[in-house]
């Protein structure tokens, strides 16, 4: 024991240092290790979380981009369809109007023909009147006295009758 004492070992100091060390351990545990470890864990958790979030957002963005692409494609397809339909409708409208025009023209032509017919008939009528008159006059002049009044009237009627038959045909 004499040797240990000369080295400086003494029980009270040893006990004091043991207590000191335990005290330091407890205080450091309370004020350094626990809060700092908690903070480090918290931070690594946050970092991990934010990395995961970034991954998620990236995925989401890719998804959205794909969706947008798909929509644009669909829209362009639809647009093309609309255009095609419009072209078809236009064609139809054109054809219809063409047909209508043709019909109009035809009816115009028919009307014109009828008019011409009518006018011709009118002209024929007039001409016949004239011819009849002239005929009566000429006939009167040629046969003058050979025809009496009675015969005259009969002849005219006959001619008229004939003319009407002709006209009717």
């Amino acid at each position: 024991m004499e040797g240990l004492a000369s080295l400086g070992i003494s029980l009270p100091t040893l006990l004091a240092q043991l207590v000191n060390f335990v005290l330091l351990f407890a205080l450091l545990y309370l004020f350094a290790y626990k809060p700092i470890m908690k903070m480090l864990d918290e931070r690594s958790r946050k970092v991990k979380e934010s990395l995961e979030q970034t991954e998620y957002i990236k995925e989401q963005a890719a998804h959205a981009e794909e969706e947008a692409k798909r929509r644009i494609e669909a829209a362009s397809k639809e647009g093309q369809e609309v255009i095609a339909r419009a072209v078809r409708t236009g064609e139809e409208v054109r054809q219809q109007s063409q047909q209508e025009a043709r019909q109009e023209a035809e009816s115009l032509i028919i009307r014109a023909r009828l008019e011409i017919q009518r006018e011709r008939d009118e002209a024929i009528d007039e001409l016949r009147q004239e011819v009849a008159d002239l005929t009566i006059l000429a006939a009167g002049k040629v046969i003058d006295r050979s025809l009496d009044k009675e015969a005259h009237r009969q002849l005219i009627d006959k001619t008229l009758e004939e003319s009407t038959t002709l006209r009717k045909s």
Binding site: I9, L14, A16, Q17, N20, L24, L28, M37
Partner: protein, 320 residues
Amino acid sequence: MPKKGRSGSKKPFIILGILVILALFLVGFASGPLGQKIFGDIGLPGWLSVPQPRPELPAEVIFHLFGLPITNSVIATWLTIIVLVGFSYAVSRRVRLIPRRWQALLEFILGALLDFCQRVAGEHNGRRFFPMVATIFLFVAFNAWLSLLPGFGSILVDTHEGEVHLLRAANTDINTPLAVALMSFLSVAFFGFRSLGPAYIKKFVNIGQFLSGLRHLSRGRLGAGLNGLFLGVINLFIGLVEALSELVRIVSFTLRLFGNMTAGEILLLMATFLVPFLFALPFYWLELLVGFVQALIFGGLTLIFLTVAVTSHEHEEEAA
């Protein structure tokens, strides 16, 4: 143009600095015992020379607290505790997710230690051992470093033992390293017992084989009995050696730290005594390094012993 003037005026300052340093060194050398031997007394003032240190291994008692003697090394330990805990408290009072400067420093130190523990002992065990290892490391390192601060060893107080230093590097008092070594030993035993249960004790008192040998012998099976007894004795001896090595660890822990710190202190004192100025500076750097290395050794060895203690020996025996 002023630039050139400035750079021109720099050179004389450097030369002046070198001259001052040289003069200090020369005066220091001449006033020290070495110089006085060589040059003789050349009339330098007496306060320049440093009295020859007479290192005492036992720490000096400063005062008594409730009958307990409080030595200067205990006071230095208190100082270390105050510095470490004060710093930790100031930082951890408001821990932020985005660390400020001091918090980053504390996080760096503790993070490095935790990383060290986890690399040696594994993810889970490293976390369990970390508080003990970190406390040992910080305690040893800061004890050593604080004692290097100027003024640490120069405060004298009057006691009934005469004029003694108020502070003394805690680990130059053998009680301190012994206390830390005991704590290290206790923590090893604690974690070992907690992980392995009775199997941990079995490592030191392996009596099973011996008893089964005796049982065999009592039933008249001579061959198996003798064989069991022989192996049992070997097991007992191995257990004894294990226990002894555990105790030797305490001694080696204690003496290594005590010896290193005491030698460092004496080295610095002697350097200052031989040449009062400048000469001790390189040794201060050395002591900074030694403090760090000793802390690392103490903490690291404790960590390794802890790791070994919680590793089951069953697997090894089964494999053998």
